[in-house]
Amino acid sequence: MAAEVAALAAGLLRKLEGRRASGEVVERRDAGAAAARVCGDWGVRRALLAGDPLLDDLGVSEALAGAGCEVLRWPDGRGLGWRELLGLEGPQDTCGVTVPLLGVAERGTLLLGTGPGHGRSIDVVSMRHLAVLPAERLRPTLAGALAEAYGGAGLPPSAVSLVSAPSRTSDIEKISTLGAHGSVSMHVLVVT
């Protein structure tokens, strides 16, 4: 990994850890095992995966299925309906697996894109959030990342979600508590 990319990855993870998310840098061949280990630690029973071929290429889908997780792919998983995906029916120990468009080192932020293969709700309907970010998608600044995401010709994406932390609330006694609505925990695998 080039020194520049390593510095960006370190910056991203340091910022995210400051907001009670976690993350690590993994090599390509270890990505599947790392995903399975993280989901195992979380006790995940059902994983809702972005319909991104990258997750197959990296062996993430296979590793999660091998570890005993029920694996749903977007958009097929939507067939279950919101009550299931929200954990009101069926297993509550769910994990959304996303493939961010870009990562921003400066503020510790992921940009999740939207499209037929990547639902905008994957990470927040699930109890946990695992993001698989290829290292070459790291950018130093938010302004640069947004310019890139919205710079293309034609219509801009219908939804881009900036995610910088697990779901937090300070509405009770101003003390930060996790898992108000979105993910209770968030882990980023930066894949080199």
Binding site: K15, V124, L142, T169, I172, H181
Partner: protein, 470 residues
């Protein structure tokens, strides 16, 4: 831009607070739990803010924030036109509304036309301002606030006390009682358990809601993108799951491009929560596209005037720069003492004390009271991430107040100023004052009670009738 100044009629009406401000403030001061809750909240905010000051060049960022917002408000009509055009191009519906009645009517009609019955809301000051919840409920719709703090308040039948942390005046035990009453069962102890309980209850709402209503923190004119900032994830659920999304936006929230948006997106959480990123920022351009499996089928962007356009070009224009971070509330010694509820308005603290009378019209009872709930110490100006001179605006708002009492005050000060403009007048007034004080002080040399307008001043202290006092 409207021709009427800030004294002209204002379309948005807030309900009259039932008791005078002085009484509401006294009640708040006498509540020991409230005082403790407010102190704790302000301390935790100050710590986060201090940390941000060490990590980032806040002064320079603030200056740039001020430049951006000044330009945005100056170019407002053109920016709104471009925004509207781009949102439509992305398949969204744009509606501009003049006042709260028109705004509420639009949502009610939409709900009826689509056969909707359940509305899920994420936190929005604009909907608080137009009192959308009350209007929808009156029309027979069920409305549920999904921001944890707002839901707590909805259960308590209260309005927010802070822009960012609406339920900051309530503690864990009070929240637990409200949740127990709502669910009709015993609740476990502890903050985590309460949050988990709310998570489950509100997921039922997300799964079933027909319409999601959100606010708008910023709208980016260049791409027609609206931006909803949050930390809990409820705004994403509100804007992604229901089949209709209605976004209510104060007209001044528009920025030109992504460069400006990127700067403000960093400045807002720094000032609001002492972090350089909010947990979630939802950037939405039109409704769901073909082939997508989530997101609303319809997006309605409602752009609210509500008295804002009349402020452009006036001495109060700078209130439109506000990005609703809540920093001036925490930094204000008055807000920290009485909390937001005593203001009796959706916007409290220094920004509320200026904005409420401007939006409401300067003739209402509240407009004559609110600008005076300030010591003019300037802490709000210092805390403001876009450098609004709130203390100056408060003074200007005071000058606009026209109740008989304030008019009499102004006459007295004018007389004083007239007298002291000449050496003779100054000398005469000094002699008269000295004689008057001696007369009132009598032999003791101390005045225990002043007559007339000076009476409240002597309620808590004595005045020496000669100098040096004996």
């Amino acid at each position: 831009m409207s021709a009427t100044g800030p004294d002209g009629p204002r379309p948005v009406m807030y309900p009259d607070a039932s008791a005078p401000l002085a009484e509401r403030a006294r009640d708040a001061l006498a509540d020991p739990t409230l005082g403790e809750n407010l102190r704790g909240a302000a301390e935790s905010w100050a710590a986060g803010r201090a940390r941000m000051g060490q990590e980032h060049p806040f002064a320079a960022m603030r200056e740039r924030g001020r430049e951006i917002r000044t330009r945005n408000v100056r170019e407002l009509p053109a920016l709104l036109d471009r925004l509207e055009e781009r949102v439509r191009a992305a398949g969204g519906t744009v509606v501009r509304v003049a006042d709260s009645a028109e705004a509420c009517r639009y949502v009610i009609d939409l709900a009826r036309a689509r056969g909707a019955s359940l509305v899920a809301k994420s936190k929005s000051m604009a909907t608080e301002e137009i009192r959308l919840n009350e209007a929808l409920e009156e029309a027979g719709l069920r409305v549920v606030e999904t921001d944890l703090g707002e839901w707590i308040l909805q259960l308590a039948g209260q309005h927010p006390s802070h822009i960012i942390a609406p339920a900051v005046h309530l503690n864990r035990e009070q929240v637990r009682e409200l949740f127990a009453a709502e669910s009709g069962g015993e609740l476990p102890e502890g903050r985590e358990a309460l949050v988990a309980h709310a998570r489950r209850r509100l997921r039922e709402v997300f799964a079933a809601a027909d319409i999601g209503v959100s606010g708008v923190n910023f709208a980016i004119a260049d791409t027609g993108t609206i931006c909803v900032v949050e930390n809990e994830g409820n705004a994403r659920l509100v804007t992604a799951l229901p089949r209709i999304h209605v976004a209510v936006m104060g007209m001044e929230r528009v920025v030109a491009d992504w460069d400006e948006a990127a700067h403000l997106l960093q400045l807002l959480p720094m000032a609001a929560i002492g972090d350089d990123a909010a947990g979630y920022v939802n950037l939405l351009t039109g409704p769901r596209r073909e082939g997508e499996a989530d997101g609303p089928e319809e997006l309605h962007l409602m752009i609210l005037d509500g008295g804002r356009s009349a402020l452009r070009g006036t001495e109060f224009e700078e209130v439109l720069h506000c990005i609703r971070c809540g920093a001036c509330l925490y930094s204000c010694p008055m807000w920290r003492s009485v909390g937001g509820q005593a203001y009796g308005s959706p916007y409290s603290g220094p920004i509320g004390a200026v904005l409420t009378p401007l939006l409401e019209g300067m003739r209402g009872e509240r407009s004559s009271e609110l600008p005076f709930l300030s010591s003019l110490c300037g802490a709000c100006h210092e805390a403001c991430p876009v450098g609004i001179p709130l203390h100056d605006l408060l003074v200007r708002a005071r000058a606009r107040v026209t109740t008989p009492g304030h008019r009499a005050d102004r006459r007295r000060f004018r007389l004083w100023s007239l007298a002291w403009r000449s050496p003779a007048g100054y000398a005469v007034s000094r002699l008269a004052a000295r004689a008057g004080l001696r007369l009132l002080g009598g032999r003791r040399g101390w005045i225990r009670r002043l007559p007339g307008p000076g009476e409240p001043w002597t309620r808590e202290r004595d005045v020496p009738a000669r100098w040096p006092p004996r």
